[in-house]
């Protein structure tokens, strides 16, 4: 391809009258545009097939009574307008799952951020020894397979598991964690926090390291103690990082699927079923239309949060 493209440039050279110059520039611009889109082709093909078209299709599906069995009989599908959405918001199960998802966000996000921020502060407080080792350890859960982690959770929290054995030595009768309507949710969220605080920590560390050291030195000279430095320098200067981390985590917990699916499959009695899990369960029973409508609700929520994310990422990009 290189050989066919390069020799073309000199051919226009002999006709080089001044009038021709803009035309040549334009044809060069056209060629560069063609080349650029050729470079982009693999990404764009996958994008169209698996993001753009499915998004439009999901909106379409959500307005029909499409069922799993209809995949072979496309003409049996009827347009039903907003019926799926109306059904959703009258469905006690869906409303309960929205509430559950709100709990995932409201508890999971601050907890994950809090742990990540505290560890980032500790690692950035001037300690030298073992700093790298600590960072490695705290980041390890992030790269750990979620299925594997969930199995270990099940093993540790089973009625006669390690957690209850430890409780037993202190004289407490351990509950059946994952089978208890009130206790299952905290155990599921704990897995989410364990898997995500490392990401928050690394992002906070990067933020902390971008604060110039002299600001602290000047404050120390003026007699500001550690606490006041934290409150009046670190926290305000970290605001962009904090916003970014909170958006990332909010988007994650809004779509939370793996943790509840693997630990409880939404149970007991739906107490840990998230909206994403609802979508999956509707899909599983062949209700593709309802499933798509539910997924579109998630999309709108995530889009709302993502608009903020886009604005935050843009200055760096």
């Amino acid at each position: 391809m290189t050989t066919t493209l390069t020799p073309r440039a000199p051919r226009t050279e002999p006709r080089g009258r001044p009038v021709k110059a803009p035309a040549r520039a334009r044809s060069q611009g056209l060629r560069r545009t063609a080349v650029a889109w050729l470079f982009l082709t693999p990404f764009i093909v996958v994008f169209l097939l698996y993001t753009a078209i499915p998004t439009v299709a999901a909106l379409g599906f959500s307005l029909t009574d499409l069922h799993g069995a209809d995949l072979r009989h496309p003409f049996a599908v009827n347009f039903t307008g907003l019926e799926n959405y109306l059904r959703l918001f009258q469905d006690q199960t869906f409303l309960r799952d929205i509430l559950n998802t709100a709990v995932f966000v409201a508890v999971g996000v601050p907890l994950t951020m809090g742990v990540g921020f505290a560890l980032a502060l500790a690692l950035n407080s001037g300690i030298r020894r073992l700093r790298g080792l600590f960072r490695t350890v705290f980041f390890a859960p992030v790269v750990t397979n979620v299925v594997a982690a969930a199995l270990i959770w099940q093993y540790a929290f089973n009625p006669s598991g390690t957690v209850n054995k430890v409780l037993g030595t202190f004289g407490f009768a351990g509950p059946n964690w994952l089978d208890d309507q009130r206790l299952a949710m905290p155990v599921v969220i704990l897995l989410g926090v364990w898997r995500n605080f490392g990401t928050a920590m690394v992002l906070f560390l990067a933020g902390l390291q971008s604060i110039p050291q002299d600001v602290y030195e000047a404050a120390a000279l003026d007699g500001a103690g550690k606490w006041r430095q934290l409150r009046h320098i670190t926290v305000p200067l970290l605001l962009p990082t904090t916003l970014m981390v909170s958006v990332l985590l909010t988007v994650f917990y809004l779509q939370v699927f793996d943790e509840p699916y693997l630990l409880t499959n939404g149970g007991p009695l739906g107490s840990t079923e998230s909206v994403a899990l609802y979508t999956y369960h509707q899909f599983g029973v062949g209700e593709f239309g309802v499933s798509s409508a539910a997924s579109f609700v998630t999309l709108l929520l995530v889009a709302l949060v993502s608009v903020v994310q886009f604005r935050l990422l843009r200055p760096r990009a």
Partner: protein
Amino acid sequence: MTAVTASENTDMTARTATARSAVRTRPVAQPLLYAALVLCALLTLLPFVWGISGSLRSLDEIRSDPGSLLPHHFTLDNFTRLFRTQGFGRFMVNSIVVAAMVVVGNIVAASAAGYALAKLEFAGRRLAFGAVMAAMMVPFTAVFVPQFVLTVDMGLADTLAGIALPSLAMPMSVFIMRQYASSIPDELLEAARIDGAGEFRIFFRIFLPLAGPAVATITIMSFLNSWNYFIWPLIVAQSTSSYTLPVGLAATSQAAAHVTDYGLMLAGAVVVMLPVLVLFLFLQRYFVQGIAGTGMR
């Protein structure tokens, strides 16, 4: 703060020196800090210890004393059973094949797209970058039903290609390559252009040799994604012959949980998580860069 701006040069260096030493030495706080960090580290590692120690315990031992943290007798029996009777060999081969497709696909697609987005002036550049951002934002749950219908229509349901295809050109990879390409000086490419080199020659001969670090990050990130990906393979794979490791592990453990065969489950968990953890120990820098740079995995 005002004190520093007002002070003379020589005076200032002296002052910052004292301030710096004031910041560094905290004789009482340090041991407490270390104690807290060690405690947190132990809590973080606890699940790994549970998983590994449990996988090395025999079925009888786990059943008679499921709560014990360390094994009384070490045995590799759980791992043997995993590969002999549970088909984990096949799952592992499938996972490796899918990961290979995903890694190669991402290197090719992201290098080309990232280069174009960062280094070429062309009509529709903002639109193309918008597509990358949109692809990063659209939640999987919003699109998996049509994705599944499409996969069935293409005849790729229950195939490894069907599992790999959506991940072949991840927006995260394009984003990483674009950020890296922006840091390569334009003059380098412009000089080649003036010498009459075509766009493809510039890409292959000049850009790609410089893009090594980004290619490394993309390789590791796309491998991590593919190896750990659970929900899409769970939907596409319908028979054990196309299960990847996480799907096979979830299926095996569902059956094993009924008979409380925790040893088998945990051995499976170790087989799935260990390769990535070992890679992570050696190539930590790339993992952290990749995840911190894009905020996702």
